[in-house]
């Protein structure tokens, strides 16, 4: 097992549409500002490169190919599941976390279950933890994703 945080939200659309919103519209719902984006002083565009082997990136300058690579996409199953690696800007070699999102149909739409795991690869004094103990740190990560998913749901008005 590994340290993880899971958050969930229900969107009033079919799983295929929820998956499309999550991926294609990522720059629309991904919150802006240094708390959410990867290079605080640059404004970029969040983008999923579709398909396994693609990447989640924040693009700063398309022409120059300047971007931040969050991680590789490991599973790409539209309407069902999306898994990608996640490396923060201050992660070192071997420090990698993973985001696993499942889209489950239910009577009121789609339940999105997002698990962010692999936090044991970040040592207790890692700067990403901001000096918080494991529980407080993971809870704050949960709050971070809750804000993001709430913004995703807000796309639907």
């Amino acid at each position: 097992m590994s340290a993880s945080v899971t958050v969930a939200i229900t969107l009033a659309v079919e799983p295929e549409e929820a998956f499309r919103l999550f991926t294609e519209e990522v720059d629309q719902w991904w919150q802006r500002g240094p708390q959410f984006r990867f290079r605080p002083k640059k404004h970029g565009t969040m983008r999923f490169e579709p398909g396994e082997g693609g990447r989640l990136v924040e693009v700063y300058d398309e022409a120059k190919g300047e971007l931040y690579e969050v991680g590789r996409i490991l599973v790409w199953k539209p309407g069902d599941r999306l898994v990608f690696e996640w490396c923060g800007p201050n992660y070192r070699e071997g420090q990698v976390t993973e985001v696993d999102i499942r889209f489950k149909a239910k009577d009121t739409g789609t339940r999105i279950l997002l698990e962010h795991r692999g936090w044991e690869t970040l040592p207790p004094d890692h700067p990403a933890r901001h000096g918080l103990d494991n529980r407080a740190f993971l809870t704050s990560q949960g709050g971070w994703w809750e804000e993001q998913l709430t913004a995703l749901r807000a796309l639907l008005g």
């Binding site: 097992m1 590994s2 340290a3 993880s4 945080v5 899971t6 958050v7 969930a8 939200i9 229900t10 339940r111 795991r117 936090w119 044991e120 494991n134 529980r135 993971l138 809870t139 949960g142 809750e146 998913l149 709430t150 749901r153």
Partner: protein
């Protein structure tokens, strides 16, 4: 997911202590129809904190061993100091689901003088719950008539 802060958010959020929070989370989803909206798991795979929703209500759950005062009813001879009440849309369906999932029924569904049908149950570690559905909306005077000796005040 309910907003944590905002007009639609539950402002009172009970938190329950379980010896086995992982088992409790699965059980509460299965038996009582809660939906997990936040789960924090440590390096050993043990849930440190979780939040579950039911309608616009929310509970938190966690372990029992992190300080002197938290305890599961399981280790207290089944005694409880409080009860969580949940208002549901179909109390009979809820009752059947809970029973099928192994809830210990403490009182069968029964019509109450105040117009609700209510049943009582213990969960997997002995926490005490009640579930009700409003079947008839009664005035305070009607309730007093239905239960002589009680004075009913306020807006129920």
């Amino acid at each position: 997911m309910a907003e944590k802060t905002g007009s639609a958010a539950a402002e009172v959020v009970p938190a329950l202590f379980y010896d086995d929070p992982n088992a409790a989370l699965d059980w509460l989803e299965q038996a009582f129809g809660f939906e997990t909206c936040l789960r924090v798991t440590d390096d050993d795979g043990v849930i440190q904190h979780a939040e579950l929703e039911h309608g616009n209500g929310r509970i938190m759950l966690g372990g029992s061993g992190w300080a002197e005062f938290p305890a599961s009813p399981k280790t207290l001879g089944g005694r409880n100091t409080q009860c969580i009440h949940v208002q549901v849309k179909d109390v009979m369906a809820h009752y059947e689901r809970a029973k099928a999932a192994g809830a210990t029924i403490a009182a069968e569904p029964e019509d109450q003088f105040y117009g609700d049908k209510v049943y009582r149950a213990f969960d997997l570690e002995g926490h005490f719950w009640t579930f009700g559905q409003t079947m008839r909306v009664l005035s305070n005077a009607d309730m007093e008539k239905a239960s002589p000796g009680l004075k009913v005040e306020g807006k129920g």
